[in-house]
Subunit: 346 residues, 2 copies
């Protein structure tokens, strides 16, 4: 057995909610690292972070930061990826980008390892990590698509605030305490930090994630529509999404209606999901067991349950899909791709 | 103008979450009351409640409680309605029942005043108030059904804990504080008080409201399916529901996909909803305005927004419907029916 090659790895956005999870996973998975660079905006540079018992100082990410870097994991927002990923590629790094910057670029593979890991081999320097709400959807639906074909998907999401970053988590907890104490709530971040109107998230449901597009859908909804088609590699699938933020810290839930191209048996579906990689079937109505955000939090899998036939359409199926949006929905999916590149790639 | 006749009114379940709202509305609306009887279980009997500045002592509801009662509003659970409503009818009362006991009874009208108030005239002593999640759905869809016809409805709900009663509200608030304080959570009520398994509702989304049926759907989901067809008076409509409890105190939200029988114009839909009785259109993506549970709480209307064409199906429309589940979803709908009987009925 040959010795494992070690890689120079950079984490861009190291102080963010996803960056923190990536660093934790690199440590936990004992990723083959030669040198680790933790990068951030100028604002967060200087932060001290621990990795395998050693203290690292976070540095400001600049084009020159990527000299010698072989694998760069980006999760510092689309603008940062757009500005810096090309420099990282120039320096010879493979970039795994967790933002929306390159996902729909035809030259960039959009990868969920359980679905289309082979696409990694087509990369031209950048591999895109899909949106959190898309990853758990396609991970659960892929085995069903292979068996029955998918005609349409209608999904309504119940998304955790951690998807909007650390400051949104702080905001939910702060607002919640204010409401419990009978104090005034002064929303500051959600639904979209860069937009003028803010809404209370504590004890509320906000049907806006990211900015509105001209067609009346939000960007988050359109991400789900476009990315699902790209990853499932079938532009003919009709996808409709309604994306909603709810007062949950970790774990996105999704109510999904899927219509297959062919007839199906419910028992078959259960067997397929029970055997699917990265998927855990939790489907026991009699025992009141179904996926829950609180139980998915901190776990890498995608949890699926509430499987039931549509009452009107013979090829329709309803299901409930839950996963930790920071893990499978972001950091873990990215680290899975990095592991493939570093360890498994043919 | 003739003098308004006054009625002997009984409120059964007077100490519950809905009963409290009914009493508040009877006062606020200056309902033509001769004598008011506040009734409850033996456990809550003796409670003192105020009505128009006068103190009332809640009495235990028995078959004899309804002597002389002309209008009885029931919201003390299905078993109480089943046991006592027939006695109330025998004593000559018209019962407006807010439970599931008689809703699907072919002899009982199931009424949402904005949709089918004329059905009240067919009653044989009992008029059923629909399930909260159904009421707001059909109130918003009725004007669209009239214009275009409805082929199918796929709805995912985001339901407030107050729908499960006062103790569920207490549970959410108590659990939330426990989580914020870093203490252990010990679920006691939700998802279903009478079932053995309990789940944390604080910072979670529970895809179970009421008991599971043999077909894998919950009773709440089947209520939405059956009641929607009955109220919209069209058994051919395909209805699919996924009902989810979220950490909200007041106000149910619904993500709704509807497919019309005929082509439609989005502007037309907006105009129809803007003019619909009891409906408020809140649909301004540019201004980040859409219905929110926090803004619907305490208001009698049904709020509708996020209107957008389905991207794949020309006759498909997505919308977001929010209403206060204790008001339009329960107490206000019941008092509207009572007002029709007492004041408007031809």
């Amino acid at each position: 057995m040959s010795q494992q090659k070690l890689f120079n790895v950079a984490v861009v956005g190291a102080t963010g909610a996803v960056g923190e999870q990536i660093i934790g996973l690199l440590e936990k998975r004992d990723f083959p690292i030669a040198e680790l660079k933790l990068l951030s905006s100028a604002r967060s540079a200087g932060t001290k972070l621990m990795f395998k018992g050693k203290e690292y100082t976070v540095e400001e990410a600049t084009p020159e930061s990527f000299k010698g870097v072989e694998i760069a994991l980006f999760s510092a927002g689309g603008d940062v990826s757009k500005a810096l990923a090309p420099h990282a590629v120039e320096h010879g790094a493979v970039c795994i980008d967790n933002t929306n910057a390159y996902r729909m670029d035809p030259d960039t593979p959009l990868v969920v390892p359980e679905v289309n890991i082979d696409k990694v081999n087509e990369h031209k320097g950048i591999i895109a990590n899909p949106n959190c709400s898309t990853i758990q959807l396609v991970a659960a639906l892929k085995p069903l698509q292979e068996r029955y074909g998918i005609a349409r998907i209608i999904v309504s999401t119940y998304q955790a605030v951690s998807g909007a970053g650390s400051r949104a988590i702080d905001e939910l907890l702060r607002q919640t305490r204010e409401v419990l104490d009978g104090n005034e709530v002064d929303p500051d971040i959600l639904p979209v930090g860069s937009l003028p109107v803010k809404h209370q998230i504590a004890f509320n449901a906000i049907p806006q994630i990211d900015k509105f597009q001209e067609n009346g859908y939000t960007l988050e909804e359109m991400k789900m529509v476009r990315e699902t088609k790209k990853i499932l590699d079938d532009e003919s699938i009709d996808v409709t999404a309604t994306c909603v933020r709810i007062p949950v810290v970790y774990g996105h839930s999704e109510s999904v209606y899927v219509e297959f191209k062919n007839d199906y048996e419910l028992e078959d579906v259960k067997n397929l999901l029970a055997d699917a990689p990265g998927v855990v079937l939790v489907d026991d109505p009699a025992g009141q067991r179904y996926p829950l955000a609180t139980e998915a939090a901190g776990k890498p899998e995608v949890f699926v349950g509430r499987l039931r036939r549509d009452l009107g359409h013979a090829r329709g199926l309803n299901l409930w899909i839950v996963s930790d949006n920071l893990l499978k929905g972001a950091a873990w999916n990215a680290v899975q791709i990095a592991e493939y590149i570093a360890i498994e790639k043919p």
